[in-house]
């Protein structure tokens, strides 16, 4: 195995600025190496915080979107950070299971990763509780305490597992049933106020003028749509079924609307591909177009490298 990944390479990795070969190498190393995975979690948080800070320095004239979640940080020390760190821990948990259980080269690591998906929310609940409890104990004012409580409740709601049965083929040809979280049912961020509705893939594509991202060559089942606050193209989750019966989700929407969804998906134990930043897009009416950067990501109960490979090979962005 190669030595540990230098920090700057993790930045480049998360910034999606490496060649496919370099990315594959790092993804593989991350699967096996706890130390680098921990560092990757830190870099992920650092990256996000840096972006959030810069987002505060934007002139009002072009600041269309509401300010990032950072606005609560002052009252809630470490709040968003703790949540992000917890999400990173969960992701780590699902990887480590895939890593320890899988035999490299057998090609069945994706299946093994499925088992971790059900475990992950329980881990998150356990991780989030102490962190928020610590925030409570250090909170000096009632305002802080109540914010912390809100966070705890929100986190618990986010990870309350709704389960769906999945059949897993075991080595000797038998199948057994697993229970995993179904984000199609589960992802209903209350924060946005907008409800998710189920729609056929065709309806979703029609709503997006044929421009929804999807994985080519993989069958599509009904997706879920959430009206975008910008109007026009909705935020969309498209579920696609792999040949063995497991599902992957392609999630697409404006950055600010995808944020909560992304966190939820991560918290439910799914691996997510590096978000692709599509070119800035114009949504809304023709009279009042709104410029937005749309993000596309692929989520699945697969190891991160499988998800990345799937996204690289099959993801079709119109």
């Amino acid at each position: 195995m190669r030595p540990h990944i230098p920090e700057e390479e993790l930045h480049a990795y998360l910034d999606a600025q490496l060649s496919p070969a370099q990315r594959a190498e790092i993804a593989e190393h991350l699967l096996a190496c706890l130390i680098c995975r921990a560092l990757e979690g830190e870099v992920r948080v650092l990256r996000q915080r840096s972006t959030d800070l810069l987002a505060l320095a934007v002139p009002r004239t072009i600041r269309g979107a509401p300010l990032p979640a950072i606005r609560t940080r002052r009252r809630l020390r470490g709040g968003p950070l703790a949540a992000a760190a917890a999400a990173a821990v969960v992701l780590g948990a699902s990887w480590s299971m895939a890593g320890t259980g899988g035999t490299p080269g057998e090609g069945d690591r994706p299946v093994l990763a499925t088992a971790s998906a059900f475990v992950a929310p329980a881990i998150l609940a356990r991780v989030v509780a102490p962190i928020t409890a610590a925030t409570d104990s250090t909170a000096a004012t009632p305002r802080r305490a109540s914010s912390s409580r809100t966070l705890t409740l929100a986190s618990r709601a986010a990870v309350a597992p709704r389960v769906m049965p999945v059949r897993q083929v075991t080595g000797n040809g038998n199948t057994r049933r697993l229970r995993v979280v179904d984000p199609m049912v589960d992802v209903a961020p209350s924060g946005g106020g907008e409800a998710w509705e189920t729609a056929s893939f065709q309806a979703a594509r029609d709503a997006a003028a044929g421009a929804h991202a999807h994985l080519e060559g993989i069958p599509v089942t009904p997706g879920r749509l959430q009206n975008s606050s910008h109007g026009a193209r909705a935020t969309a989750m498209v579920r696609q079924l792999l040949p063995d019966g497991r599902a992957v989700w392609v999630v697409e929407g404006a950055v600010e609307e995808l944020g909560p969804v992304y966190q939820l998906l991560e918290a439910s134990g799914l691996s997510l591909s590096t978000p692709r930043r599509a070119r800035p897009d114009y949504i809304g009416t023709d009279d009042a177009p709104v410029r937005t950067v749309r993000m596309v990501t692929v989520a699945a109960y697969l190891p991160i490298d499988s998800v990345e490979a799937l996204a690289a090979a099959r993801l079709k962005l119109d």
Binding site: E8, D15, Q17, S50, L53, L56, A57, I62
Partner: protein, 178 residues
């Protein structure tokens, strides 16, 4: 590749304004300078327009910092003096809070070295590592290193400020107890 100003404008205008704003810290000035950048682009018809506009924006911001046209800035401020509009209190509070937070980011950015700051702002403006490398004269491999350092310093500087502020905020209440 044919030069398409309209497309360039649509896809990079906001990013250019943001980039400039974080250098001149004046919204109107940033927009004026951005206009200037695109005017120059129209004359120059650059081959790699995206990199080009940020290179020019960086130059313009540098010139601006040198000449610091204060009179004009003063006029701009006057122009935007609010005419006793009945703003809800919560909006005012939000605005003050936003200003305060922005000032912290500004101070945190100021603690970075010019090169670290430039790389961070260019990345945030949407340029890729090779594009940043070309503009700053760094090797592509060094962009990640620089960016890693810049992010770490920005966040660390901001954390320090938060701690100091919290310390300040808590002092009066501590005094009340004694």
């Amino acid at each position: 590749m044919a030069f398409d100003l309209e497309d360039l404008y649509r896809t990079t205008y906001d990013a250019v304004v943001r980039f400039l704003y974080r250098k001149v810290w004046d919204a109107d000035r940033a927009e004026d300078l951005a206009q200037e950048v695109f005017m120059r682009a129209l004359h120059h018809q650059p081959e790699k327009p995206r990199s080009w506009v940020f290179a020019v924006a960086a130059n313009i911001a540098r010139d601006e910092a040198r000449s610091a046209i204060r009179r004009r800035k003063h006029l701009t401020l006057l122009k935007h003096e609010p005419i006793a509009s009945p703003t809800p209190l919560s909006d005012v509070q939000d605005e003050l809070e936003q200003e305060e937070r922005e000032a912290e980011v500004k101070r945190a950015l100021a603690t970075l070295t010019p090169r670290d700051r430039e790389v961070l702002l260019l990345w945030d403006a949407g340029l890729s590592y090779p594009e940043i490398a070309e503009q700053t004269g760094l090797a592509v491999g060094a962009v990640g290193t620089t960016l890693a350092r810049a992010r770490k310093r920005l966040v660390a500087a901001h954390d320090t400020m938060e701690q100091q502020r919290e310390h300040r905020d808590e002092e009066p209440s501590a005094a009340a107890y004694s």
